[in-house]
């Protein structure tokens, strides 16, 4: 697991920092937004913890757990230099930008529980970060909270991304409700980025289940209307179904609903529960062993595949999946959360398996077992 934030071991600044985001470089800084790792002239010098020299002017020393930081990484440093947050790691395929912690849903298993306070500085910081990203950035995620709470502010950010990073695949995670607003969605479509895809969760085939899971009445109608509007405007949509105690028994019905009513979506992601945030607080109310729904998950995934909807399974260990759908599983767990457990010893497909969220220490399937190699597994035992 890779840590993404921490307190500086020490900081020695001439005065409060005038900027928040810094790109780490080896050797002398050439741009005002660059911080030098080690020695050299710079607005800010960043040293790793093992460095024993006393801090000099405009220098911070990282805590040991941020020892992984290197050139090209982008960090946010608080004005006093004592708090460091990792914003971007070019070597990772899972970079995403948190735009807000506010949300109008309150999902029972939310991994990022919503907060109410105004955090629109996160949107400003996102714009600043995007200007610093290399033009060949392959992928970029935008998450929340609910990014559409900004309305026009989000659209401005999307236009900025399209002009600064025209070759980057952009994945916007949204609960989709705002897209029920035809005017907003028309403006969104007008941003005209063919590499932009909205990932929208659907937790039921009708309002009662979905609205209960997201703890907001009227959400299903808005979300589905939003998906329809995005479809009418030929916008790319991925539907995300998180499998938990309430949704797993209905996963075939949800798949049928998508295949029959929303067949234009580009992709469906069937996702395992991440035991963090509200999922951890509500654990007994949301936890279900994936082993118990493996038949329904396989049926739903194959149903969607037959309906020609590209379908992937996320956050599931391969040994918990019906053999017919194992090849639909994606190694999706972000590198900074990924780990394996003793029961995985001797498993021949570990490298293809997503492993576990670190948060799964709190609860994981009782049916984890090593799998033989696919060739030895010829009859799909």
């Amino acid at each position: 697991m890779i840590a993404l934030r921490g307190r500086a071991r020490s900081a020695s600044l001439d005065g409060p920092l005038r900027r928040e985001l810094w790109r780490l470089v080896d050797g002398p800084a050439r741009q005002p937004d660059e911080a030098t790792l080690g020695d050299g002239p710079a607005g800010l010098r960043v040293r790793h913890a093992h460095h024993d020299a006393a801090p000099r002017g405009n220098e911070i020393v990282l805590p040991p757990h941020l020892g992984h930081l290197g050139a090209g990484d982008i960090i946010a440093v608080s004005p006093t230099g004592d708090r460091v947050e990792v914003m971007w790691r070019p070597r990772s395929r899972h970079n995403s930008i948190l735009l807000t912690e506010r949300c109008d849903n309150y999902c029972l298993m939310c991994s990022q529980p919503p907060k109410r306070h105004d955090d629109s500085r996160l949107l400003d910081r996102a714009g600043e970060l995007i200007r610093m990203l290399p033009a060949d950035t392959p992928e970029l995620g935008l998450t929340g909270g609910e990014p559409t709470v900004y309305g026009d502010g989000l659209l401005a950010l999307l236009r900025l991304i399209h002009s600064e990073l025209p070759g980057t695949e952009v994945h916007l995670l949204s609960n989709g409700r705002r897209f029920a607003d035809a005017g907003f969605t028309a403006d969104y479509a007008r941003a005209g980025n063919p590499r932009l895809m909205a990932g929208i969760p659907l937790f039921g085939p009708e309002p009662a289940l979905h609205d209960f899971v997201v703890q907001a009445s009227g959400a299903f109608d808005q979300t589905v209307t939003g998906i329809l509007r995005l479809g009418e405007l030929r916008q790319r949509v991925e539907i995300r179904v998180v499998l938990q105690k309430h949704t797993a028994p209905a996963v075939v019905e949800i798949a049928e609903f998508i295949a029959r009513n929303l067949p234009f979506v580009e992709k469906v992601a069937l996702m395992g529960l991440e035991v963090t945030g509200l999922a951890r607080a509500n654990l007994d109310d949301v936890w279900v062993d994936p082993f118990d729904y493996r038949a329904e998950l396989a049926e739903a995934a194959l149903l969607l595949k037959h309906a020609r909807v590209r379908t992937q399974i996320y956050n599931h260990q391969l040994c918990l999946l019906d053999h017919r759908v194992r090849r639909m599983a994606v190694r999706s767990i972000s590198d900074w959360k990924n780990e394996h457990i003793p029961a995985c010893a001797g498993c021949a497909v570990r490298e293809e398996c997503g492993g576990f969220f670190v948060s799964s220490r709190h609860r994981r399937s009782a049916h984890i077992r090593p799998l033989p190699s696919p060739s030895a597994d010829g009859h799909h035992a």
Binding site: P207, A208, D211, D221, L228, E256, F257, H306, A307
Partner: protein
């Protein structure tokens, strides 16, 4: 901490019915279908509770709402989604008439008892389509607005009038140089007369073949007599040549079920597999042409065909479970209608009917018919479905003739008695020619209609298996996606 919004408990009298239809099953279950054909089974007590609007089971209410069978008062989204689905199912209507059948000759060297046409002897060249008629037919076909045009040649035996086939193909390609439609050409032939010249032509112009294979040797040759009693051997030799020269999938085969086929469905399916065909159409004999005058000895009823179909489907499911992929074509068409919003465009299973707007038939003599069956009726003196004559009538004359519009309107399943409230309506179709032939009007009386009883048998079988057998369910979903 916020207060938890409780799981919804709406039910009972709050529920409003969306348009739905139902059918009771012998085992007490009740099939419910919504207005686009999505289905759900409930048991007897659940159906009673639903009809009296006192349901309380949240999981069942969830399924009913998900399938757009009921809604809560004021809900608009289910209505909007039903509208989108209904519109999608009818999209094909805007691109009318994609199938154009050319009867290039009535001559044939076979003398099949079930043959649907009044075939003529080889010497009677007066029953060949002339070049003028062929050109007029091609130009009529291009009047249709469909972006795809399929030209199918039949007879008699179309290989006996290859000059007309060549003329139609070349003329169609010439016109298409400016039209830019997607063209497909198929020769429906017993293939006995296939030669290198025909193969070279088919290769040059991307022509496919559709042939007849009735099953094992003795059955096929008894059904399809020709001089030398070697119909099957000749067909299979030609099939091998086509596959070698043009590719495996350039030839498909159709079978016709005769009284002699009954009880032999496994052998018939095996003979398809042995000869490299993965698609089989368990097709009943049709009541037209010579076949209508079959002796009682050769006739069989709907129940006998349904048994034949059922046994065949059981075997096909068994084969697929063993890893042998084989598809029953008619079931696949029905399943597409059951499980998707796509319309497969099969002319016998659409409503409005497929006559005229799904297919037009250009007879050797320049007469235009609304369907192949309509053309066969004319051969026995009934001109009900003759729409007009090439060279005399315009496209507008044909497509707005009373001979077309009246049976289309009268047979529309959305309004026909017993169809409009049938739970299977979305899976089925209107067949005004069949009912005209068997009952004397485009509608018929459904309890007496072999068309109705045969299709219901298919629908019931498919839904039973879809519900009870997970393997069949997955296979059927794959077929529906084809």
């Amino acid at each position: 901490m916020r207060d938890r919004i409780p799981a919804a408990t709406a039910g009972g009298r709050q529920l409003q019915f969306l348009p739905l239809r139902f059918e009771r099953w012998d085992d007490g279950r009740v099939l419910l279908t919504n207005m686009v054909g999505e289905h759900l089974f409930v048991d007897g007590p659940e159906f009673e509770a639903l009809s009296q609007r006192r349901l309380t089971d949240p999981a069942l209410i969830r399924r009913l709402r998900a399938k757009h069978l009921v809604r809560l008062p004021g809900e608009q989204l289910p209505v909007d989604l039903l509208a989108v689905k209904y519109r999608t199912q009818h999209q094909r209507l805007a691109d009318s008439t994609s199938l154009h059948l050319f009867v290039v000759t009535l001559r044939c060297e076979h003398s099949c008892a079930y043959c649907q046409v009044s075939r003529r002897n080889l010497a009677h060249t007066g029953f060949d389509m002339t070049p003028e008629t062929a050109r007029a037919a091609v130009s009529m076909a291009f009047r249709s607005p469909s972006p795809r045009l399929k030209f199918e040649f039949q007879g008699g035996e179309p290989l006996l009038n290859m000059p007309a086939v060549r003329l139609v193909v070349e003329e169609a390609e010439r016109i298409n140089g400016t039209e830019g439609r997607r063209l497909a050409f198929v020769i429906a032939s017993n293939l006995a007369l296939l030669d290198d010249e025909v193969l070279a032509f088919a290769q040059r112009h991307d022509v496919s073949f559709s042939t007849s294979l009735d099953g094992p040797e003795d059955l096929h040759n008894r059904n399809r007599p020709r001089p030398g009693r070697d119909s099957r051997q000749r067909t299979l030799t030609a099939v091998a040549h086509i596959r070698e020269q043009l590719g495996h999938d350039r030839v498909s085969a159709l079978m016709t079920t005769t009284a002699g086929s009954l009880g032999r469905v496994r052998e018939i399916i095996d003979s398809y597999l042995e000869n490299g065909f993965r698609h089989i159409f368990l097709r009943p004999v049709s009541p037209y042409g010579f076949a209508r005058r079959l002796s009682r000895r050769r006739a069989y009823d709907v129940d006998a065909w349904a048994d034949f179909y059922t046994e065949g489907m059981e075997y096909i499911l068994e084969l697929n479970a063993r890893g042998v992929p084989v598809v029953e074509t008619y079931s696949a068409i029905v399943l597409k209608k059951m499980l998707t919003n796509d319309s497969p465009g099969y002319v016998d299973l659409t409503s409005p009917a497929g006559i005229g707007i799904g297919a037009l038939v250009y007879n050797y003599d320049g007469a235009v018919y609304a369907s192949d069956e309509g053309r066969m009726l004319a051969e026995s003196g009934d001109f009900t479905f003759r729409l007009g004559q090439l060279g005399q009538d315009s496209y507008a004359d044909l497509m707005t003739s009373a001979a077309l519009l009246d049976p289309l309107e009268e047979s529309y399943t959305g309004s026909v008695p017993m169809c409009c409230d049938c739970a299977f309506e979305r899976y089925c179709g209107a067949d005004p020619v069949f009912h005209h032939t068997t009952a004397g009007d485009p509608v018929g009386r459904k309890p007496e209609s072999a068309f109705c009883r045969r299709n219901k048998a298919v629908f019931r079988f498919l839904l039973d298996r879809y519900t009870s057998d997970p393997h069949a369910r997955e296979l059927f979903r794959a077929w529906a996606a084809r």
